[in-house]
C-alpha cells in the first residue's frame, strides 16, 4: 500500500504540490488526470524519490520513502516506472536493456537475468526483437520495452508517467493494450494519463489534479458521469 500524507513540493519558490493526501491499496488501478502543469507527474517522481519533497511523507509498504536512512535503491525495485520519453538504453540490445537491472541490482546470474528478460519481452509482445537495438524499434515498441524493463524487477507497483503522450497516434493502442493486460493481471498501477478512455475503462479510481491539489477523487464512473467540482467539469468539457 502507498500512503501519501500532506505532501508538499516546491521548485524554488514555486509550489507544485500543495498538500497531497492519497492512499493506493494493493491491486488498485488509479488514474491521475488534469491539465498540464498541475503536478501530476511530479507526484509520481515523489513516490519513488526521483524528486525530493519539502513536507509530508510517502509510505510504501510501511517504509518512509523520504526518510534518512531508507535504502531507496532497494525500495525502487518495488516501484516500476515508465516514462513519457520511454528512455530505453540506446547502447544495449532489447534483451540487454531488460536483463541489466535484474543482474546488477538484484544480483541474479546472467543466464537467469536473460531468462527473465526474455519472458518479460514476450509478455509485452516483443518476443521476436531480442537482439535488435532500440533505435530499430518504433516508439510504441520502445515503450513496451520500457514496460518489460520495469516488470523484470518484479515490482509490486507500476508508475506510468504519461506513457502514451509522446507516441504517434497509431502507436498509442499497443501500449494501452499492454497496460490493460497488466491491470487485468492485478498489478497495482498509478497512471498519469491524458487517455480518458483508458482512465474510464481500466481504472478503479480516478484522481483529478488541479493546481497542485487533488480536487476530486472517485470511481471512474462518478468522475466521468457526475463530476462535482467546477474545474473538473470544465476540464472534461474541453477534452470531449
Amino acid at each position: 500500500m502507498i500512503e501519501i500524507r500532506g505532501l508538499e513540493k516546491f521548485y524554488g519558490s514555486l509550489q507544485v504540490l500543495k498538500g497531497i493526501d492519497l492512499d493506493v491499496p494493493k491491486g488498485e488501478v488509479l488514474s491521475i488526470v488534469g491539465a498540464s502543469g498541475s503536478g501530476k507527474s511530479t507526484l509520481l517522481y515523489c513516490i519513488n524519490a526521483l524528486e525530493a519533497i519539502q513536507a509530508g511523507s510517502v509510505i510504501v509498504d510501511g517504509i518512509d520513502v523520504h526518510a534518512r536512512g531508507t535504502d531507496i535503491n532497494a525500495l525502487r525495485q518495488k516501484l516500476g516506472m515508465v516514462f513519457q520519453q520511454w528512455n530505453s538504453f540506446p547502447h544495449l540490445t532489447t534483451l540487454q536493456n531488460v536483463a541489466l537491472a535484474p543482474q546488477i541490482v538484484k544480483g541474479k546470474s546472467r543466464a537467469e537475468s536473460r531468462e527473465i528478460a526474455a519472458r518479460q519481452l514476450e509478455h509485452v509482445g516483443l518476443g521476436d526483437k531480442f537482439d535488435v537495438y532500440p533505435s530499430a524499434l518504433s516508439g510504441g515498441q520502445q515503450q513496451r520495452l520500457a514496460i518489460a524493463r520495469a516488470l523484470a524487477m518484479e515490482p509490486e507497483y507500476m508508475l506510468f508517467d504519461e506513457a502514451t503522450s509522446a507516441l504517434d497516434p497509431e502507436l498509442v493502442g499497443e501500449v494501452l493494450d499492454t497496460m490493460r493486460l497488466l491491470a487485468e493481471e492485478g498489478m497495482t498501477m498509478i497512471c498519469v494519463t491524458h487517455e480518458m478512455s483508458f482512465a474510464r475503462d481500466v481504472s478503479d479510481r480516478v484522481a483529478f489534479f488541479h493546481q497542485g491539489v487533488i480536487e476530486e477523487i472517485d470511481t471512474a464512473s462518478e468522475i466521468f458521469g457526475s463530476p462535482k467540482s467546477e474545474h473538473l467539469q470544465k476540464f472534461l468539457s474541453k477534452i470531449r
Binding site: 526521483l50 525502487r76 516514462f83 520519453q85 528512455n87 538504453f89 547502447h91 546488477i104 541490482v105
Partner: protein, 220 residues
C-alpha cells in the same frame, strides 16, 4: 637548387633505428593518452559536479592546456620545473607534458559527452534501483564513450604528432633520433623525408585500428 644529390643509403642503413624511435614515439603517445583519458575524465566530472578549489584547479588545468602552446607546456615540465629543482628524464618530461595537454583537451570532450546524455537516462536507471555508480558505469559512460570516440582518435593522432616537440628537451623519440642521425651525416632532407613517411604510417595505422575497433564496439 637542382644540383643537390640525394643520398639515401645512410638513411636506409639507419632505418631500424628510426623504426625503433618510431615505437618510442608511439609508446609515449599511447601512455600519455591512457593517463590523459583517466585524468581528463576526472577533470570533466569535477567541473560538472563540484564547486570550490578542486573545481578551480580543474578549470585552470583545462584553460592552460588548451590555450597555451604545447611547446611552452613541454618547456615548463622540462626547464621550468628544472629551475625549481625538479629534474626529470627527457622521457618523463615528454610524458608528463603530453599527458597534461591530452588531459586538458579530453576533459572538454568528456564534458561535452556527459552533457549530451539526457538526464532522463539517469532517471530511468535510478528508477530501476541502480546506484549512482552503476548508473555511471553501465549507462552513462558507455554512451559518453561513443560520443567522444572520434575526438579521442583525433587526440591520439595529435599526441603522436606533438610528441615530436620532445626533441627540444633532448628526448630521442622519432624526431629527436632523426635530428641526431641527420646532423651526423648532414643528410637532413633525406632523414626527415623518411621520418615524415614513418609518422604518416603511424597515424594511418592508428586511424585504421580505430575504425576497426569502432565497427566492433558500436553496433547501435
Amino acid at each position: 637548387m637542382f644540383d643537390y644529390n640525394f643520398h639515401w643509403r645512410p638513411v636506409l642503413k639507419n632505418l631500424p633505428d628510426l623504426l625503433a624511435a618510431g615505437l618510442t614515439t608511439l609508446q609515449v603517445a599511447v601512455l600519455a593518452m591512457i593517463i590523459g583519458v583517466i585524468v581528463g575524465l576526472g577533470l570533466a566530472l569535477i567541473r560538472l559536479h563540484m564547486r570550490g578549489p578542486l573545481r578551480w584547479f580543474a578549470s585552470a588545468w583545462v584553460e592552460l592546456a588548451r590555450n597555451t602552446p604545447a611547446l611552452f607546456q613541454l618547456f615548463f615540465f622540462g626547464f621550468g620545473l628544472g629551475a625549481l629543482g625538479v629534474h626529470m628524464t627527457p622521457y618523463a618530461i615528454v610524458l608528463s607534458a603530453l599527458s597534461f595537454n591530452c588531459a586538458g583537451y579530453l576533459a572538454e570532450n568528456f564534458r561535452g559527452g556527459f552533457q549530451a546524455i539526457p538526464d532522463t537516462q539517469i532517471r530511468a536507471a535510478r528508477s530501476l534501483g541502480m546506484t549512482a555508480w552503476q548508473t555511471y558505469t553501465r549507462i552513462i559512460i558507455p554512451q559518453v564513450f561513443r560520443i567522444v570516440y572520434h575526438p579521442l582518435t583525433n587526440q591520439m593522432v595529435w599526441a603522436v604528432l606533438i610528441s615530436s616537440l620532445g626533441m627540444l628537451v633532448g628526448f630521442r623519440e622519432l624526431s629527436g633520433e632523426t635530428q641526431a642521425l641527420a646532423s651526423r651525416t648532414y643528410r637532413i632532407f633525406e632523414y626527415f623525408a623518411v621520418t615524415a613517411v614513418i609518422y604518416y604510417l603511424i597515424v594511418k595505422i592508428i586511424l585504421g585500428a580505430s575504425r576497426l575497433l569502432a565497427a566492433r564496439l558500436f553496433r547501435y
